[in-house]
């Protein structure tokens, strides 16, 4: 055990002052210290991607980052996607295309995809598959996730233009 540090995490625009050990993962801090349990932990070794959140605009595995590394940076989690009860286009598309079953991997996929589509709204299918292949889903077989992402990307492009 090591001494705890006082730091502040900024999640979805809100500051959470926390007091944690330096070894505490960002995923555990988000979930247990800040109470935002929408971010899920599936493997703790950076393979499944269930814990993906967006830090300063980049999708990251929050199980591979220490909370202390995220102090003062902008963290976005699945809880911040819907605005005033209105679902994000990607959330709507997942529902319309049956892109989730058990829903455990879903927050990680949503944050991965939102992070990518915000940077590359016109991403082609092939590089998109490379991106999606960085997370694991055990229920859907992925095809409905791909359909949902393409539908959401089209909608996000049309509202932008």
């Amino acid at each position: 055990m090591t001494d705890r540090l006082a730091l502040s995490l900024t999640i979805n625009g809100r500051d959470y002052p926390i007091w944690v050990e330096p070894r505490r993962t960002l995923a555990d801090a988000i979930r247990d210290d800040c109470g935002q349990t929408g971010t899920h932990v599936g493997c703790e070794h950076g393979v499944c991607g269930a814990c993906t959140v967006i830090v300063d605009g980049e999708p990251v595995r929050s199980c591979l980052m220490f909370a202390v590394q995220a102090a003062g940076r902008s963290i976005r989690t699945v809880e911040g996607l819907a605005q005033g009860g209105v679902l994000h286009p990607l959330q709507r598309a997942f529902m319309a295309h049956h892109g989730l079953q058990c829903g455990f991997c879903t927050p990680g996929f949503l944050m991965l995809i939102v992070g990518v589509l915000e940077r590359e709204p016109d991403i082609e299918l092939d590089p998109l598959l490379d991106v999606l292949a960085s997370n694991l889903c055990r229920c859907t077989g992925y095809q409905n996730i791909i359909k949902a992402v393409r539908a959401a990307a089209a909608e996000m492009r049309s509202t932008r233009s």
Partner: protein
Amino acid sequence: MIGRSLERLEDRPLLLGRGRFAADVSFGGQLAMRVVRSAHAHAKLLNIDVNAARALPGVHAVWTAADTRGIPPIDVRLTLRAGLKPYRQSVLASAEVRYVGEPIAAVFAEDAYVAEDAAELVRVEVEDLPVVLDAAAQPSEFAPGLTTAATSVRKGYGDIDAAFAAAHAVVALELAIGRHSAVPIETRGAIARYDVVRDMLELYGAAKVPHWNRDQIARMLGRDPSSVQLYEGHVGGGFGVRGELYPEDVLVCAAALRLRRPVKWIEDRREHLIAANHSREQLHRVRAAIARDGRILALDDEFFHDQGAYIRTHGATVPDLAAAMLGGPYRVPAYRVEGHLRLTNKTPAGTYRAPGRFETTFVRERLLDAIACRIGIDRIEVRRRNLIACTEMPYPRALETLGTPVVLDSGDYAGLLDAALAHIGWQALAARLTARRAAGEMVGAGVAMFVEKSGLGPFEDVEITVDLDGEVEVVTGAASLGQGIETAIAQICGATLGVDYRTVRVIHGQTDRIARGLGAFASRATVMTGEATRLAAEKLRAMALQAAAALMQQPLATLDLADGLIVSTAQPGPSMKLGALAGALRAGGPSLGCPEGLCARASFHTDHMTYPYGVHIAVARVDPETGEVVLERFLLAYDVGRAVNPRLVEGQLAGGFAQGLGGALLEEFCYDPRGEPVTVTLADYLMPTAREVPMLEIVLTQDAPSPLNPLGLKGAGEGGANAVGAAIAAAIDEAIGRPGAVTRLPVTPQRLKAILAAIAHESQAAVKEPSC
């Protein structure tokens, strides 16, 4: 409403990040449990020193087997056969450890990080013992007076010896299926708390079979079942593995009782891969006696099932299903299967999606291809000649499994084969593949057929209550594993009762809400709970209309219930909201024997399973340099009897397909010669990603509704996985031009390279005809 691809009721909270999975459940003052696991595959436990762990600040207790002595081993839930009891697992190992990952001690600490620190301080002294890693080897000693040959499953009928004696030819194969498991993305978790005021033990993180687990936990801890309640929250995938009663579930309950603090255990991924049930690993030696035209006269199969270190809750279920389902959709006049359940020093095994069928479909369909090759006829034709005709339905097999006689209830197997071939354009496809092979590509197609089983009884209950605001609550003893059962049940309830399915709230997996329930496994939930729901909703609708007729002073025949409103068909006429009717009844209107006002209960009983069926067609390309198999196309044809929500059925098929693909090409638990597992991260156990799964073509038919329930329902959970290994194996054979080349799943790049090297070696020695 039944038959429409409506949006799921489950989705919104899951998409918003408001799910309540096991790890999301926390209670004030809770302790974290960490399990100390064996690092040895087989060893005598000499000494466990917990002093250093116990001395660590923040550690509340450290338990070894001495602390759990009064707790009996975990019992068998399904397919208990004589002689299996001595092989059951205790919650903590006492004298011996039998697999890497076996619980030895449990640490309870203020925080999960501290608990892990303390677990590393537990010193375990052992004396290594010889390990058994081959289920087909000669049995050895398990314990004094017991061997590793726990039991053998024998099934059969007909005069097998006469059939082989009279056969035109005998085709014999040796085939193996690797060790796989479900590996859901959520690991297991269990949170127990004891409420001293109510003398109530509560377990959160329950799944699959909460009522059975409740009764077992009560028995094991010496409590009355009414003083133990299990609560299912969101469940991050089940597929057979999750929700069985494991040592950790019992440990958190025992600790919550004894330590008087809530106790939370969340499995980590390495633990999951070595502690949760494995499945599948079998070696088959199968023989077919065949007639001159390729018809099967008899099947004779001996197989070895690698059970791992202990008998868990599934007992002999997997070998039993394998032995019963080997025949698939074909006529088999004489049949003999002997499956040996053998203990080894690996993680114990249980069921995984399509248990016993993924394995035997691979065996049977490899055999059909070999028969076609031997007789010199087309592989589609050999199947046609052996398929059971729809005029022969219902077709009794003279076999039993899971306590039910195998009677194929309905099916047009040849019709579905035709539909699948037509959809993929089989003739043109075959011509294109032939041309591509002639041009030097290694590409081929494979076909595999199967019969699934679903809707296992014997019962399920449903209670439906109408709230005062018209919302409808359906309570069932079934469980959700993320498959969409709430939506399917709401659709059946809504359609039958006459309300919007979005006003139906489905409660499942809560032992304090319904007296009994069998849960969600064996593709049973939509069939069993669905039919119970239909029965209860029909009853409720009749009661509502009758009560409304009295209150509205209208003739019963003129009343209808639609969209939550009781309306008079006489124009213009009065109407009444269903919620208002419930209110009037609760306030003392005509009593319907229900204190809540408007409610109904129903049970559905059945002694028979339903049998859906399917056809899988794979088109695969082999890269001879890397040994990689790329699936170019995959068609999945499936008859579900009646689809409550076709999109959800297709979702089940697609998900099952991806898991089948993993089992066919990628996934395998491997051990080194000392029994050390080498597949302990998700970088070792390779599950398909979006890159490996091709766009699936689905032909969903409803040509053979089950005669065993009025809606005609059959299950959808397992047909997606069933024949993937078989179809891909056949496609690889054709791609590399060697019938029968694939004898083992998964076909990893290393194995395929070895097959190709052997072929190259042979062809250098002499140009040989394909042998089969």
